[in-house]
Symmetry: C2
Subunit: 341 residues, 2 copies
């Protein structure tokens, strides 16, 4: 673990779920033990989807990833990510079964997360942003609906910025509200804008809590656009959507990448319809939030296509350098903090 170079431990709350949160948490936990991960609860694909369908369980997948990111026990971490490869258990991540077994046994998903945290030796805390068993629902301009995160992720929005809701209406987890209220910094993690961040930000009460808290609120912007959903989005487009989903302005700062990836890699992504996120420095200077551009991409990603991190390698080759992002966040916090004083 790195030596913390900050005088007092900050309370940092990260909102998201999925790979973006995983990367951020893995390295932020070296700077503070006062870290809380708030996780969206709308995932309904893969192993998680099967457990929801067959057992009526709350979605364990993203919670598991955040727990693993904050775990200090390499052996248990590997165990939680282990996926059965054969038979009727095929595809299930062990950690998902752990969380689901405890939820079904006690009838309380939060209990499962707490016990898993103990077992994993987690630094900080992981909390579902809601404990309601909900599905993400998208309404297009023509009134038609798409139900479920898994379906929505594959939908072409055709240029629309659709309306999103959770069905049934979600209650915010009081623990999540408190983590936003008492934080020194709240970070909106990069990640799937409509699949991971929307279902977290639209939980009733979360947007209000974000606007009320005295914490510094920072969004770490995505590196790449998603075809059919965020095509041609700029940094400000992402930030604006984040605030629209949360029901109003709340961001103090947006952290974005300025280093252009190597052409070969950009071309490879381009073939899949994914482009690097545009930024216009002049326009960002006039934004209501502080926009900080710097080199945030993983060095290893430029040298070769495969990264040592298996999750990163399987999901994306152009990815955030988690240490660079954590460093930038801490510097940014100091700057905002000084300005406030």
């Amino acid at each position: 673990m790195k030596e913390p170079f900050i005088p007092a431990e900050r309370k940092i709350t990260v909102i998201g779920g999925g790979t973006g949160s995983f990367t951020l948490l893995s390295s932020l936990k070296d700077y503070t033990s006062q870290i809380a991960a708030l996780v969206n609860m709308a995932d309904d694909g893969g192993s998680t989807g099967v457990l929801r369908d067959e057992l009526g369980a709350l979605p364990p997948g993203d919670v598991r990833q955040c727990l693993v990111a904050l775990s200090e026990s390499p052996k248990v971490r590997d165990l939680f990510n282990y996926r059965f490869e054969e038979g009727s258990l095929k595809g299930h991540a062990f950690g998902n079964l752990f969380l689901t077994a405890l939820e079904k046994m006690t009838g309380d998903f939060a209990d499962g997360v707490e016990l898993a945290s103990e077992v994993l030796g987690v630094r900080g805390a992981v909390a579902p942003i809601t404990l309601s068993n909900v599905k993400l629902v998208m309404t297009k301009n023509d009134g038609s609906e798409v139900r479920g995160e898994f379906e929505i992720t594959d939908t072409n929005f055709q240029g629309e910025r659709p309306h999103f809701r959770l069905d049934p209406t979600a209650e915010p987890n009081p623990v999540a509200l408190r983590a936003i209220e008492t934080a020194d910094m709240v970070v909106i993690a990069p990640g799937n804008l409509y699949g991971s961040l929307a279902p977290a930000l639209i939980v009733p009460g979360i947007g209000e809590a974000l606007r009320k808290t005295k914490a510094a609120k920072v969004y770490v912007c995505n590196l790449m656009t998603k075809p059919g959903q965020t095509d041609n989005f700029s940094v400000n487009d992402f930030a604006t959507e984040i605030e629209r989903l949360a029901g109003g302005e709340f961001l103090d700062a947006v952290l974005y990448n300025t280093k252009k990836p190597a052409d070969t890699l950009v071309n490879k992504y381009s073939d899949e319809g994914e482009k690097t996120v545009r930024y216009d420095s002049d326009a960002l200077r006039n934004a209501h939030y502080l926009a900080i551009g710097t080199n945030l991409v993983s060095g290893s990603a430029w040298q070769n296509g495969s990264a040592s991190d298996p999750i990163a390698a399987s999901r994306t080759f152009i990815r955030h350098d988690s240490v660079a992002v954590a460093n930038a966040l801490i510097r940014l916090y100091d700057y905002i903090d000084e300005k406030k004083r």
Copy 2:
């Protein structure tokens, strides 16, 4: 936990697996933390059987039960015994999935048992008696074979005392051999004679270790006979079979029950073909082992049919009083120890 009334902690090693071991361990662990449970590895029914068939895993079921018996964490204990009730996971005990996931991940079942012990806060240690992936095979007098513990448990022996072997040949777990060698007392737990004890006692090297160790070796005799297999067995018949399976005499003492259960209960069992195990005090006085008869049955079992212990309640109503057995074992050990000095 009860105050230990013994001056120094004894090293006690229990051989078996299944409910008999569970009961014994649950209460012996209050007398010593130097406790080792050696578990047979031939189980191939239920959730365990599915994991063996589909994943080629070693049988986790009996190991799980012993881990749970020695655990000091009620919450994790309940979790390990939790069985999924619906969908494709139906019937699987969570602890079985835990042990199997770790075995498949690391390729080492013993690693899984060790990590599970940590997570469960186990007092003492649980060790598979062999790490070979084996099936129990029974050969009848006519040369025909029955393969697998699950099949054998349902077979009528028609008065024979068949030959048993493990296929392929098992290697003894060195940890198990050491636990027998260094123990002050080795207890053969009550339980399914041919289904649970045979596959432990016939592992090559185990019988020899039992004959070589300086430990006091005690067999806690079953309360009831099993129809088609141990019909009309006396205490001495059970003890003789135990020694035949282990390849020769080794017992210092046999502990057996002398209290006759209430007629109503005995009749209920009798309807299923199960009888209380006979004992002939005069004959036992001439046995090569010390035979100690006393009241070993659970008091609650006499008052009503249901016990508070769900495992006991689901499997048997006439059962050992685990505290009475533990007390008798400790007194017996002192007696043998004094005689030796």
